[in-house]
């Protein structure tokens, strides 16, 4: 076969794969989004043509379907936002210097430390939650944003360090050496030269941490009741005696995806580069 025709076939096959996968994975999303604009009778018919309604959205924003009080949804959104953003800020502030150190310095047992840090993300959640639940009960911190941030930091700090290390590994050492021969201290070289260069890395890492915390369910379910409850937990409210309130539920799920979607479209170019997995190359 001539190379050009072989290439054509390969390209055609590639599109078949892409389109099949994308269709299969987006049909459920399409169902969620369209259902959120449907009245109950239309939800069950899969009608493609229907009269769109905003009833479900007004229900979750000002209604009380989920057994909540007026305005509770916005309260949960606020909790989710505060907790997610605090976790991102703390993981980046604490994790970035550590990632820099793991990327630039040599010391004994470095590979072990790196792997231990990554492995903290892999622990069973139940092992974190039991002790923290008891401590927070004793300290009267149950059902507070603080409690959630502590647990989210535990499960995201390792991931942050590991991802940021990948970004620092990509920056040639000559840059910090040059900055240091120009009289910068190592710390200033880190802050003034390297950090600005890893801005894409910081945003990509931030997005991943945001995805993990914004959608987290188990910790929030156990640690919060009403005051610090987050949106994913509040979705449980749509499960009712007579079945699930599909309209409001799909509307809430649609709103839940909007923020991460905007974020990731903005930084999507960097999202892939961030995960270069340089961490354990030995």
């Amino acid at each position: 076969m001539r190379p050009t025709s072989r290439r054509l076939i390969e390209n055609a096959l590639s599109y078949v794969v892409l389109i099949t996968y994308t269709l299969a994975s987006s049909i459920p999303i399409w169902w969620v989004i369209t259902s959120s604009f449907k009245l109950p009778r239309d939800i069950f018919t899969y009608a493609i043509i229907f009269k769109p309604t905003l009833a479900n959205y007004s229900e979750i924003l000002i209604g009380t379907t989920a057994g909540q009080y007026f305005g509770s949804y916005l309260h949960f959104v606020q909790n989710s936002a505060v907790v997610s953003l605090s976790t991102i800020a703390l993981s980046l502030v604490i994790g970035t210097p550590a990632a820099f150190a793991l990327s630039r310095f040599d010391f004994r047992g470095k590979n072990d430390v790196t792997f231990w840090i990554l492995s903290t993300r892999m622990g069973p959640p139940i092992a974190y939650i039991i002790p923290f639940y008891m401590i927070f009960t004793r300290l009267h911190l149950l059902d507070t944003q603080f409690a959630l941030v502590a647990l989210y930091l535990a499960s995201n700090l390792g991931f942050t360090i590991w991802m940021m290390k990948g970004f620092f590994d990509e920056i040639p050492h000559e840059l910090d050496d040059a900055a240091m021969t120009d009289g910068c201290s190592r710390f200033r070289a880190f802050v003034n030269v390297l950090l600005p260069l890893t801005r894409p890395g910081l945003s990509a890492t931030g997005i991943m941490v945001f995805l993990f915390t914004w959608n987290e369910f188990l910790y929030a379910l156990i640690l919060t009741q009403q005051n610090a409850e987050t949106v994913p937990v509040s979705l449980m409210g749509y499960i009712q005696v007579l079945g699930i309130a599909w309209g409001p539920m799909t509307a809430a799920a649609t709103l839940q995806i909007v923020v991460p979607l905007i974020f990731s479209v903005v930084v999507q170019k960097h999202l892939v580069r961030g995960l270069t997995l340089g961490a354990v190359k030995g």
């Binding site: 892409l18 459920p28 169902w31 150190a101 840090i117 903290t120 995960l275």
Partner: protein, 287 residues
């Protein structure tokens, strides 16, 4: 003198992170291990040392074997399938054909959906009477059945949703690894007339060995501890056909308040995950 202070300053960058990780991860693990030796029920103020009682109750009880089989069946099938699908899609995306950026945004969407929401609305899609999936399958002659309530399909139905939710993450990880491969080997191989298949098996896959290992490890660990989707879809049922170790641990902690017992299950999970990840590290650092 100067080198020593330089030596010390290196650790200052690491110190906050290590301190936080110790407090936030090592401490709870240690505490879980201690409580796993107690019959601890705060609601009834019971706190009694019972040695290995919790462990023997769980490991020799009627739940453990089924839990372990379900957990590993789930983890192996979702990891294996998401690796194969993820690899194919990542390879295609890496060809940078026209339109790839749009595809990339759309196929990341499931990753952004809250797993708990995914569990809820997939339950609808699986419903025998109104669900999209039984309806579509009925067109090709497969009788309608409620997937999450059917004992032979329940675990499989959870695997499908888990794949749907997390394969995009696998694609991201693998794509990242592919883009980190230098281009020179490909150019010289092309000049030698290598086919795309040869490029894949001789250059891409060997170069991605550590990426693949880490991606599979992360996915496998996440699958071992998976909870949200399982809980929303089946709660371990019908009966116990889809009950995994983490579902049991949750039931004992949240519904029955047996802190010591679920701590023991957590310790068993720590032992399993540590064992597997140590094996992986040994494999990775072997030269």
């Amino acid at each position: 003198m100067r080198t020593r202070s330089l030596e010390l300053s290196k650790y200052l960058y690491l110190l906050p992170a290590i301190a936080f990780l110790c407090v936030l991860t090592l401490y709870p693990f240690a505490q879980s291990i201690i409580w796993s030796f107690y019959q601890y029920d705060p609601a009834k103020s019971i706190y009694k040392f019972i040695g290995l009682g919790n462990f023997s109750d769980y490991l020799l009880g009627d739940r453990f074997l089924g839990n372990a089989v379900n957990t590993f069946t789930f983890a192996f099938s979702t990891t294996g399938a998401s690796f194969l699908i993820g690899l194919i899609v990542a390879l295609v995306l890496n060809r940078k054909l026209r339109g790839t950026p749009i595809f990339r945004v759309i196929l990341l969407l499931p990753l952004m959906m809250a797993p708990v929401a995914a569990g809820l609305f997939w339950k609808f899609l699986y419903n025998a009477d109104i669900g999209l999936i039984p309806q579509l399958l009925s067109y090709i002659g497969i009788p309608r059945t409620d997937w999450t309530a059917n004992p032979s399909l329940a675990l499989f139905s959870v695997v499908v949703v888990d794949l749907w939710e997390w394969t995009p993450f696998m694609i991201l990880l693998l794509l990242a690894g592919m883009q980190a491969i230098p281009l020179e080997p490909y150019e010289s191989a092309r000049i030698d007339g290598a086919s795309s298949w040869q490029l894949l098996t001789r250059i891409t896959l060997p170069q991605m060995k550590s990426t693949i290992a880490i991606a599979v490890l992360i996915r496998f660990m996440d699958a071992l501890r998976a909870f949200d989707i399982l809980w929303m879809l089946t709660q371990g049922g019908p009966g116990r056909v889809s009950e995994t170790i983490s579902v049991t641990a949750f039931i004992y902690l949240y519904l029955n308040y047996h802190v010591g017992y679920s701590a023991a299950i957590a310790v068993i999970m720590i032992i399993i995950t540590t064992g597997i990840s140590m094996g992986f590290v040994r494999y990775l650092t072997r030269k």
